[in-house]
Amino acid sequence: MTQFIIRRTFYALISLFILSVTIFAIVRLTGDPVTMLAEPGARAEDLDRLRAEWGLDRSWPVQYLTFAKNVFTGDLGKSFNYQMPVSTLYFQRLPASLQLALAATFISFIIGIPAGLISAVKVNSAWDNAGKVVALFGLAVPGFWLGLVMILIFSVWLGWLPTSGQGGILHLIMPSVALGWYFAASLLRLTRSSMLEVMRSEYIKLARLKGLPGYVVIAVHAFKNALIPVLTLAGINLVVMINAGVIIEVIFAWPGIGRLLYEGIFQRDFPLVQGVVIQAGIMIVLINLTIDILYAYIDPRIRLAK
């Protein structure tokens, strides 16, 4: 088991290394942050001064080593635009993103899980199809458009909800629906399939034989067991929502990490983009690692496989 954990951890580190090289290289291949700010009023020497200040005059390997070394000490570098440590910025924005992501997860649960349960219990019924269509709707409509349509209806026409920004619970409703709905479809599929699998298992059959009424069995036993993979997926979804809710945060002027990233991309704020992507990468890799180890713990056969 120890060997398994070591091997998996090693793999995770290699993945993070590849991730960091990839993001490091692609941000640099797409342009020069100094050119981005310099409108023609700026002079060549001003640009050079900025390049030097931002460390962009050094060679790529040197820049990468500095970046990698800093990441190991928990320092994600300093944003060009904000001139603040990226980690400070990240944690400043984290509460807003977390709030939105949790609310969106809740929305994805209340749409995805009931739809998944219904379609597993009533396979191929009208209910099944209706549930699927509702859950898939969030995936079938581009988020930016769904967001704008909601603003139009609920803010401009009906005047029920504020258009944008962070505030009370009312501010949270539209962005979390727009974000959460997208993830409902994946929850629907997973809930459905893990429910089907559990319901085919021996002990559920046994429970039925004991004469418990069907719905109770489903509700209590099946759901409890089907929940594990569903929660795993929800965890990964949560990380994605926290770090990459770019479009929804832009539409709703939500002061979260996604917008930080969005601006970083278009401003070529290298440290910011690298930092946020690495941070998200670490979270995802950690979750996957934990899951791998947990599953190996439960099922010893996995330890032997690569």
Partner: protein
Amino acid sequence: MPGIKITRRTVLTSAAFGATVLSVPFVRGARAAGGVVPKGKMTLAWHTNIASRWLDPQQHDGTASPDNFLFAIHDGLIKNLRDNKYGHLALAEHFDFPADAKSATFRLRAGLKFHDGSPITMEDVKWSYENYRGSSAKVLHEKTKGVTIVDDRTIRFDFTEPFLDFPILMGTGNLCGAGWVVPAKYYQQVGKDGFLQKPIGAGPYKLVSQVPGSKLVLEAFEDYYRPVHIKHFEIIGVPEAATRLAMIEREEADILYLVEGQLIDRIKKNSKIMLAPVLSGSWWLEFPGFQDPKNPFNDKRVRQAVSLAVDRKAINEAESGGMGRVSGNWINNDVEDALDWPEFEFNVAKAKELMAQAGHPNGFKVDWLTVVPNYFSRGERVISQLKAIGIQTRLQTMERGVYLKKMEGGLKEWPGLQIIMNATRIGGSWASWYEGMFKCGGFQGQDMICVKDLDAKFDQYQKSFNREERKKLAEEIQRGILENHYFVPVFRHAFVNAIGPRIKAAKWQDVFPTITSGYAYPWEDIELKEAAAAQK
């Protein structure tokens, strides 16, 4: 000329009113300044995210974005305000710039304070100037022989040679921040990064709190030397245009920046919202590599034909709701020594004739037309207009960062036959436009545009300390570009903003009075309607 008048010896402009009132003892600033008590709350929906560096004049990046924020939080010795391009007396009550341009002397108003209550001293002014490291820092520092504190309200700058551009640099908020005063001790204590978290300035609004990048919460500074009318002022970054529009409709925002092309016409129908079409960037066509004799655009007749084929009025109608301006010169007339030039003719028949004379009766194919991102629709319009004279081309789109990189890369990034629809807005003087956009080897000229005789004249201009000669050269050079159609000016587009119903304004210029900017400053002058001011 509004602004600084220069006579044989010196001319002193003074803000007598402000100075007298402020010198009355025992009266606190806000009430002293015109008896106005700031009330109510105003919200500005800013059109991008808010970069922290814009809050620090010391790091001015030379673009027209920081000034929106500098004018709220900070103040300069002199600045651009209303119709004054750079000579409005702000912290200074006298500005003395002798005709020989070898020195400049400022005398500050009495009793000036920073937001933390500490007085503005001459050391602060000197330190701010000497440690300034933003745009144009090098030229300022190289030409400055010394900064002398004459007395506790007077400071003198001595130059190594006549420095005619000094007032422009010091006083143009969207060009340079050296004349903007920060508290030296505090700045050194917290460092440049710390300063961005909690900037302290001398402007009409002090920063209460911020979410870096997306929100600034400001409050009226009671000790400001001019009356500040609105107590609470929030700036929120809202990148999505449709969301900004919804905000102003719901009165969640009072002023919004940047209503884009097609929306303009529709908003006109909403009687509650006032549009503020501020004349902004200038747009023109350029032909990278036209100096090569093999390039069809090397022929003046072809360039002129292009100019004749562009229906500028139609473009202005469609792209700026008719609120831009079909201008003659590609250099905006709100900068020093920009040449006035009549509107260019629209005449397809004549254009065809010229094409035929140049040996292209059926036109020719151009590989790409590229337009400054993301203004793709105006590129599409030009393409369809050029079809009339047989010039066939396609629109090349790219993301903004890529475009800027290619522009910096020069001709090798623009292979084959290309047209670029470029645009800019630069503050200061015509020379910055020439240097940045046209000069061979310049920021965007690179090796794409090289006209030797004009560049030679420009060198002569820059070396000259003679005002008369400079003026003459400026005119000759601009005339040379326009008569030869090296650039084909298209129009000056409108940076269209909107004003919500809570703001007191008879016309939009009441809220956007500053001609050198697309932004709504001076902030302290904006007032709410009474009902709105009384709202909690």
